[in-house]
Symmetry: C2
Subunit: 212 residues, 2 copies
């Protein structure tokens, strides 16, 4: 069953039970989709509103992009579960002969690459979301500043969740070059996301608490 | 329809559309339920595991408490939507006579009280979750440290989301005494939650990154 078709109750039940998936990685991607939905709501409430005509086209674009991003995050939630299962299967392969050991090592390395790639994709999605949230904080409907701020808090948490899951897999990678590439992209994206979140908070906290 | 019966896709769709609810408050409560589910998974993977016999009863208790807390958070998600709708209704009441103005003022104040109480309840739930996560970080199955850390990141984000939603409503309260009580409890709970999260991160980050 596709993740997004599960009811909230069912999804939580599956997370809670004693099976390895869905775990933190899939939950992170799902929460990311919810943060995108909040951004989309803010854009929807800015469209066709008097005083916001200048940003109409931009808001329309954000609505479309957030729908796409939500779908992508649900796909990533499913991929996260599959990647984790593949990794467990690879780790269970026999290693009785040199040939088996070689094969197992190759399969484990492939599975780890996928298991690290999925949360990195989630982080790329959060970077896109954070950039859209900056636009919404600056030009979006001011009645929804608190929802924008809520989306920022969730976006940042999903980034942190995914970061832990990238690091935990990168730690086991054998290929030094790939490992280095992952860590570099992680750092680059992380500083972009943290920067966006900080700027949005500075902007919105003033606007939220110093006004009626 | 009860929130927890919605599919993930449906819930995100309803968040995204141009209707005031579900908004950030309901999303926060739902994400809180997912963080509880992660804690429950960690407890489930600790139960009946060799080497963890000493904490069997404690883990059993956590599983039961987290199921209860998940349910409570779904109820809070529904209450959040209702509270927001009631507040909007109260704000639309007429104020043509002194009598109408008095009634409206009373209704708005009541609605604000509920709208601030729901996120405060979410924060109480996150405080309980954070305390359980401290136990899981210290005594839970070490293979699930990353899921425990993921739950901490989500727990803290849900606290922040709910805090914004308490503050935004408290700001409009007329009753000084009630406002002061809300702010005091918010501060007290906030420092407990932040304290738990900090201690867990210190504990787990060492264990996760300094070991194989």
């Amino acid at each position: 069953m596709e993740v997004e078709k599960m009811s909230l109750e069912e999804f939580c039940g599956k997370v809670a039970e004693k099976t390895p998936t869905p775990g933190g990685g899939a939950v992170g991607a799902v929460v990311g989709a919810m943060a995108c939905a909040l951004a989309e709501m803010v854009a929807n409430f800015t469209r066709k509103k008097r005083g916001y005509e200048d940003v109409e086209a931009e808001m329309e674009r954000i609505v479309e992009d957030m729908e796409e991003l939500r779908e992508r995050l649900f796909i990533l939630a499913g991929r996260d579960m599959k990647a984790f299962e593949e990794l467990m299967n690879a780790r269970r392969l026999p290693e009785d002969s040199e040939e088996e050991r070689m094969l197992k090592r190759k399969k484990v390395e492939e599975a780890i690459l996928e298991a690290a790639s999925v949360p990195l994709d989630v982080i790329r999605a959060m970077n896109q979301l954070a950039r859209e949230l900056e636009i919404l904080a600056e030009f979006g409907n001011r009645n929804l500043f608190s929802d924008t701020l809520n989306a920022v808090d969730l976006c940042e948490a999903v980034y942190r969740v995914a970061k832990v899951n990238v690091l935990i897999n990168v730690k086991e990678m054998e290929n030094e070059k790939t490992r280095k590439e992952f860590l570099e992209e992680l750092e680059e994206l992380g500083s972009q996301i943290e920067g966006s979140c900080r700027r949005i908070r500075e902007m919105l906290e003033v606007r939220l608490w110093n006004s009626k």
